[in-house]
């Protein structure tokens, strides 16, 4: 079973969604590696989570509703993660007065 078979099971739009999901994830990876602003790095992580959600929804057309249930839990965890992560950023800013990731060297050698 090759690309045509998968396109048959997912539909052409599902296949496009998988490609878009891979591209969005890669753009998120570029953002995490390329930016120094902690808040923008964090936003790129959210973009990667959204890309994963997109592929889960696309596959849920093929495998049933469980994919959408996973997306629900991913969103709940992402909300918790955003709240805690931004609180950590605020705490770090209070200490260093900056959100530049290169300045945080406590665990680097």
């Amino acid at each position: 079973m090759s690309e045509a078979g998968l396109a048959g099971a997912l539909g052409v739009n599902g296949l496009i969604a998988l490609f878009v999901s891979a591209i969005l994830f890669s753009i998120g990876v570029i953002g995490v590696l390329l930016r120094r602003n902690a808040i923008i790095v964090f936003m790129c992580v959210e973009l990667m989570l959204n890309a994963a959600n997109l592929s889960l929804v696309a596959f849920s057309r093929m495998h049933g509703i469980e994919g959408q249930i996973f997306v629900f839990f991913v969103m709940a965890v992402a909300a918790a993660e955003a709240a805690v992560g931004l609180a950590i950023i605020i705490a770090i800013f209070r200490h260093y007065e900056v959100v530049d990731l290169d300045r945080f060297r406590l665990l680097k050698w």
Binding site: M1, E3, G5, L6, A9, G11, N13, L15, I16, A17, L18, F19, V20, S21, A22, I23, L24, F25, S26, I27, V29, I30, G31, L33, L34, R35, R36, N37, I39, I40, F42, M43, C44, L47, N50, N53, S55, V57, R61, H63, G64, Q68, I69, V71, F72, M75, A76, V77, A78, A79, A80, A82, A83, V84, A87, I89, I90, A91, V99, D100
Partner: protein, 175 residues
């Protein structure tokens, strides 16, 4: 036909918005473009028969979480562009090559495998029929409160832990 065109337009605007978001130096415009990306992916969710997920994506991601980001940017007064934000050419080369490796692996994983076969075969359009029968929310809510109810409760505990942790972190050293 118009639906296919709309889907492709949403896909293109999601990718374009993500590229613009990563390259903006001003954090506020990055947030705005990320909201655009979330709206575009919500449109894609809508056309992949995930109506409830599309609504939640707009409300939770595009609304709540992005407002939180904007709020933190405003609180810390970081809404101005910083020339040191983007890494230099070496960082770009490393980041770009790792990202292209990710793209290749993911593409191969999604569509390149010779034995890419559905584990559970369900008929095409089954989700749409179930949504017409049980309602758009019911088709997600029914398994969520029957088979996955324990996971749902554990997620509730996780959110409680997140609330407590956030308050603890945000209050700082004061007793």
């Amino acid at each position: 036909m118009i639906q296919d065109f709309l889907f492709q337009a949403f896909a293109a605007s999601a990718i374009l918005g993500a590229v613009i978001m990563v390259t903006r130096r001003n954090p506020v415009s990055a947030v705005i473009f990320l909201v655009g990306v979330f709206f575009a992916t919500s449109g894609m969710f809508l056309m992949l028969d995930a109506h409830y997920i599309a609504a939640i994506n707009v409300i939770l991601y595009g609304g709540a979480i992005m407002v939180l980001f904007l709020f933190v940017l405003m609180l810390l007064n970081l809404g101005h562009a910083d020339w040191r934000d983007l890494r230099g050419p070496v960082g770009g080369l490393v980041g770009g090559s790792i990202s292209i490796a990710f793209l290749g692996v993911l593409t191969r994983l999604f569509v390149g495998g010779a034995d890419a076969r559905p584990v559970v075969e369900i008929a095409g359009g089954a989700l749409r029929e179930a949504a017409a029968e049980q309602g758009v929310v019911g088709v997600v809510a029914r398994p969520l409160f029957q088979e996955y109810v324990i996971v749902l409760e554990v997620t509730g505990v996780l959110l409680l832990v997140a609330i407590v942790g956030t308050i603890l972190l945000a209050r700082g050293e004061r007793t």
